[in-house]
């Protein structure tokens, strides 16, 4: 919200307080000044100039060569404005001046061959309005050579304040002024006006009835007769333009002015357009179509609070008036509405219509129910003054059930308990009094306060403590330098995933962080997708069901920019409906699991002077997975299943299982899946369910004494049928050997025609040893030979080299 410092000064004395300090203190008391413009600074170099002479530019049709008197000298200035004339007083920017619009500096320049020593300014260049049709022509009264700061009264400071949702009271100049009065311990005073009412009684001119008393607790109206709708005077226009509003006419401008002054949104009806000269406040019983004053037809849901006359709706309460009762230039008599509406009712309407106005913004945050009359009178008097109208005697003030001021108890020791610092009692009382709270009960340890109705946010003791801390200044509360730490159990739920990250990095993987929102096509690849009710775009309308699609997206993007060799991992949550037909009603209806993905593509090894190139293959992927499992001691806990025929994602794949439950799955990604991502090279990936992996108890680590006795190695190679798998052979070898055989390593594998059709050779080296003694040649030989015979018979395999 934009606030004018000069305007604020009407209600609180801020003389001699530097702008910087006002900005700092406001920010530090909770009204954050996000930005400010100090006109005194902005316009300090501009002066009033006098156009002594105007000639046509010799080389340009649209330019003029002017002689501008600056009070001390005559300068030649080129001007492009069509309206520049001899004898005008204008705003002149001498060389060195910074022009606000565009933030550029005026330099001595040669324009089409003619020198120019400054610039004659338009309102737009000064950021006084959007008018850049011509230069700004000043009135006769201004003094040539003097600063425009003084001559044009451009001496305001405009503050841009961010008002938090709890501070509806600060959405006006008096609201901010009250805080300033409190901060600087100054007197605050409400605007002064004297109401001049005519003899005609308002009750004879109009009436108000509230039907929906819950959503409209108070409705106040004043009537002003025989007004002339016209332009507002300069002072009013200036007030509004300074805070970024566009002046319209004296009626609309006054209602806006009073809203920004007092915080009460007002609406002016053309009284003669109200049937029966009656206001009825009620909620709609059916869906209604209504045309608002911006000429838009709007569909209002049932239950919308409306302002009606005796026959028809004339305004959407608290949001926007209707076209049918709008003020125009021929309006003579007006009814000024100043009401208090139920915040949540206005918010519902505003949300339902997708229509937020300055009025609805304030009503949905709470408008002080006690000031409706003040605002109505203030506006009526201003309108009467500016439009030569007569105010009808009295007001229509319908307030069936008065909203009471709340009582709040403050125990002084609670201030200490929350803040950890004792603010003196006198200071506490001073702060709260300045904020408008009244003491209704006093004692040594506690006081009871009455909270004014403009502070709906102050309901509880803690709310008062915040006010005390805020005005006292957070920076004045000490910062302690010691804390005590309880010796209770500390847990780190992220420790496991962090360990996984460390191991993944040491395997050469780089971590991705992907957006879990994705398009339907990707979310449909795996699992039961969950849809976003209000997505930003179709590209982000679903939650990911797996880490695979987004990882493939990253692979595709990187290949596109020439990064074709990738080793990536990600840890993130995936979301699935448990039953795709069932809507989410509670946490049991969906799963959110943490997953880990490894994805590799391209080369594991580029060709170098001493190494041949090598592409990633299935066994690299499998190796990475197993290396990781070794580090987290789960290598012997999980077992593998292999699937040659693939599924919807993989050509072929394997799974890691724990007690028959699948913990992870991965393999070679199918071509037609890759095609959806525009990937033309092989991709291998593996996805673990970390939520499940985390829960598996790892084998506890125990120290093993280094072996004291020698190992014996034996090798053999067999020719097997091609259908025999490595896994079958390994299992058989282990089964057919004694406990002396400690490990088996496949060190050669090949097929060739010399072996025969559908045959392959597998060569193993076997490691024998005992932890207790040195083995004899005989016992090893016995084991080894027995094994050879068993393999021969079991697989019909042929021992090579025999």
């Amino acid at each position: 919200m934009k606030v004018s410092l000069n305007w604020l000064k009407e209600y609180v004395d801020l003389e001699n307080i530097p702008v910087q300090e006002i900005v700092h203190k406001l920010t530090m008391s909770g009204l954050e000044v996000e930005d400010y413009v100090d006109e005194n600074e902005l316009y300090k170099d501009f002066i009033v100039g006098y156009v002594k002479e105007k000639k046509k530019h010799p080389n340009a049709d649209k330019l003029s060569v002017c002689i501008v008197n600056t009070g001390t000298e005559d300068l030649q200035v080129i001007c492009g404005a069509p309206n520049v004339e001899t004898g005008q007083k204008i705003v002149f920017a001498p060389i060195g001046t910074i022009i606000p619009n565009g933030n550029f500096k005026i330099n001595k320049a040669k324009i089409r061959g003619v020198e120019s020593f400054g610039m004659i300014c338009s309102e737009a260049e000064l950021e006084l309005s959007n008018d850049h049709s011509g230069i700004m022509v000043l009135t006769e009264e201004v003094n040539v050579g003097k600063s425009i700061v003084k001559e044009l009264e451009l001496n305001d400071v405009i503050l841009e304040i961010a008002i938090t949702p709890n501070r509806s009271d600060a959405l006006s100049h008096i609201g901010v002024a009250k805080d300033l009065a409190s901060i600087f311990n100054k007197e605050f005073h409400l605007p002064e006006y004297t109401l001049h009412e005519s003899a005609k009684k308002v009750k004879e001119l109009a009436s108000v009835e509230i039907v929906d008393k819950i959503n409209c607790p108070r409705y106040t109206a004043k009537v002003v007769k025989n007004i002339t709708v016209k332009d507002s005077p300069d002072w009013l226009k200036k007030r509004l333009t300074k805070i970024g509003l566009r002046p319209i006419n004296n009626i609309v401008d006054v209602t806006n002015f009073v809203m920004y002054e007092l915080g009460q949104p007002l609406h002016a009806f053309d009284l003669d357009k109200l049937n029966g000269q009656k206001i009825v406040v009620k909620s709609t019983e059916t869906e209604t179509v209504f045309t608002t004053l911006d000429s838009k037809e709007r569909k209002l849901p049932k239950g919308t609070l409306m302002i009606c006359d005796s026959e028809k709706p004339v305004a959407i309460a608290g949001v926007m008036g209707g076209e049918n009762s709008e003020i125009n230039n021929s309006t003579k008599n007006i009814l000024i509405e100043s009401a208090h509406f139920n915040p949540s009712s206005i918010r519902k309407t505003s949300k339902a219509l997708g229509l937020s106005t300055e009025a609805s913004y304030r009503f949905e945050r709470w408008v002080d129910p006690s000031s409706t009359l003040l605002a109505a009178e203030r506006a009526a008097q201003l309108i009467a003054d500016l439009g030569n109208g007569e105010i009808a005697h009295g007001s229509l003030d319908n307030y069936p059930e008065k909203i009471k001021e709340k009582e709040v108890l403050l125990r002084f020791e609670r201030v200490y308990k929350i803040l950890g610092f004792q603010i003196p009692k006198e200071k506490i009382l001073q702060i709260l009094k300045k904020l408008g709270l009244k003491i209704i009960f006093e004692s040594e340890n506690e006081n009871r306060f009455l909270v004014p109705t403009f502070r709906p946010d102050l309901e509880r003791e803690i709310d008062l403590i915040e006010e005390i801390a805020r005005i006292f200044g957070y920076d004045n509360i000490p910062t302690i330098s010691k804390i005590s730490i309880s010796l209770g159990e500390k847990i780190d739920e992220t420790a496991f995933e962090d360990a996984i990250r460390d191991y993944s990095c040491s395997l050469g993987f780089y971590e991705m962080v992907n957006n879990p929102l994705q398009k339907e096509q990707f979310a449909s690849l795996i699992g039961n997708k969950i849809q976003i009710l209000n997505p930003q775009s179709l590209d982000m309308a679903f939650l990911r069901t797996s880490l695979i699609p987004s990882a493939l997206g990253v692979v595709a993007k990187n290949i596109n920019v020439g990064e074709k060799n990738l080793r990536l991992f990600e840890i993130g949550n995936v979301f699935n409906l448990k039953n795709e037909k069932k809507e989410i009603k509670n946490f049991e209806d969906f799963s959110e699991n943490q997953k880990l993905i490894f994805i590799v593509t391209g080369k594991i090894q580029d060709k170098t002077w001493n190494f041949p190139e090598k592409y990633f293959d299935f066994y690299d992927l499998k190796g990475y997975i197993n290396s990781l499992l070794i580090k987290i001691s789960l290598d012997n806990v999980l077992n593998d299943s292999y699937y040659h025929n693939g599924d919807s994602i993989f050509d072929f794949y394997f799974t890691k299982n724990y007690e028959k439950v699948e913990i992870g799955v991965g393999g070679k990604v199918k071509k037609d899946v890759l095609k959806q991502f525009d990937i033309q090279q092989d991709v291998f990936c593996f996805e673990f369910d970390l939520s499940k992996l985390k829960k598996i108890k790892a084998n506890s680590k125990k120290y093993l004494e280094p072996l004291k006795f020698p190992k014996s190695i034996r090798d053999f190679a067999f020719i097997f049928d091609n259908s025999v798998t490595y896994e079958e052979v390994i299992k058989f070898i282990k089964k057919s050997s004694s406990e002396l055989l400690k490990s088996v390593n496949l060190f050669d594998l090949f097929e060739s025609e010399t072996l025969g059709k559908n045959k392959k050779s597998m060569a193993f080296s076997l490691e024998y040893y005992s932890e207790e003694r040195t083995l004899t040649e005989e016992e090893i030989e016995k084991d080894f030979n027995y094994l050879i015979e068993k393999i021969k018979t079991n697989f019909s395999a042929i021992l090579r080299g025999a």
């Binding site: 610092f421 803690i462 920076d475 804390i483 847990i491 395997l507 957006n515 990536l568 009603k585």
Partner: protein, 337 residues
């Protein structure tokens, strides 16, 4: 007599050996001192002539001499041998070595881990919570009344009227307090979602770290102290800071913490919007209504909570000017950190 000669020959040998540069000279050295007729053997021959008393002493000296000379000779021989061998099979040491890839954690995770380790040092546990949350945990329990403008502060992605993508990590506070009795001291890192237009400054997904401490006597002064300690560790000892009143429905009093802009050192620049200050986190004392919602006695217990964004922190720290970089996962970016 003999002991004089031993000393002489030792000196002689040391002088000669220092001049030896190649195998040929080495062989000359060996012949001169260590061969059958070499100087050392000659001394042993002379031992025969020594008196009975002198013999054991001189014998010891001679043995020591022989050992020293042999040892020095062998050392030099090894050295010369290896030099000559190398000159035969000399390799190009300037060829590139075989480098292995060490991957890296995402920059956001690195930043998060830094924050985590500081708070773990201050006695905080680390707790996680789900991203798909109930409206109640995300808003209701945190004292956001239904139909209240405070909800506008956080544009929300809804799944339906009761479930949503959490807009902050604060619902994890509720989950912890519903499960545990005080004292509670934990940080809660995680991913959050806001339905905001994507630009260089904002993204629809980002990361936060939430903090919560509840006990009998937790105060605003302690909140300030703890966060100042964090800021000093994370951003540097010399920074200035300030706590400014703000509003969050679930804390009261509420504050935002600013530190001096470390790009302009408080002078004012584009990044700090010419204020000289950078907002780094929001915080406050847990609102009694929140305690009521989790059945904590708000008379007995007090607590503080805070929350900070990771992306913004990382943007500032590493001079990145577009938040989308974090989610693009361009390999050229990932490899940099």
């Amino acid at each position: 007599m003999l002991d004089e000669r031993i000393k002489k020959i030792t000196a002689h040998f040391n002088q000669d050996i220092s001049a030896v540069k190649d195998t040929k000279q080495l062989e000359e050295l060996r012949l001169k001192f260590l061969s059958r007729n070499g100087l050392v053997s000659q001394l042993f021959d002379e031992l025969k002539n020594a008196s009975k008393e002198e013999k054991p002493v001189l014998g010891k000296l001679l043995n020591a001499l022989r050992n020293e000379v042999t040892e020095k000779f062998n050392l030099l021989k090894d050295h010369i041998d290896s030099l000559e061998k190398e000159s035969v099979e000399k390799i190009d040491l300037s060829l590139p070595g075989f480098e292995r890839t060490i991957g890296s954690k995402h920059l956001l995770i690195q930043t998060l881990n830094e924050i985590k380790s500081i708070f773990k040092g201050l006695g905080f546990s680390v707790i996680e919570g789900p991203e798909l949350e109930s409206d109640y945990n995300n808003f209701g329990a945190l004292n956001f009344p239904p139909d209240h403008p405070a909800r506008d502060m956080q544009d929300t992605f809804f799944i339906n009227s009761d479930f949503l993508l959490r807009t902050h990590t604060s619902p994890v506070q509720i989950r912890i307090m519903e499960k545990t009795k005080p004292p509670v001291r934990a940080i809660m890192p995680g991913r959050v979602y806001r339905n905001e237009a994507i630009s260089s400054r904002s993204y629809c997904v980002f990361h936060q770290v939430e903090g919560l401490y509840v006990d009998n006597d937790v105060t605003f002064a302690e909140l300030k102290g703890t966060l100042v300690a964090f800021a000093h560790q994370f951003y540097g000892e010399n920074l200035k800071y300030r706590f400014r009143p703000s509003f969050f429905p679930f804390t009261e009093p509420s504050a935002e913490m600013d530190i001096t802009c470390f790009l302009c050192h408080g002078k004012g620049c584009k990044v700090c919007k010419h204020s000289g200050w950078l907002e780094i986190l929001g915080c406050g004392m847990v609102d009694p209504n929140v305690f009521d919602n989790v059945n904590y006695d708000h008379e007995q217990y007090t607590g503080y909570a805070f929350g900070m964004g990771i992306e913004r922190t990382a943007l500032l720290k590493y001079g990145i000017d577009d938040i989308r970089v974090f989610f693009d996962n361009d390999f050229r970016f990932l490899k940099q950190f």
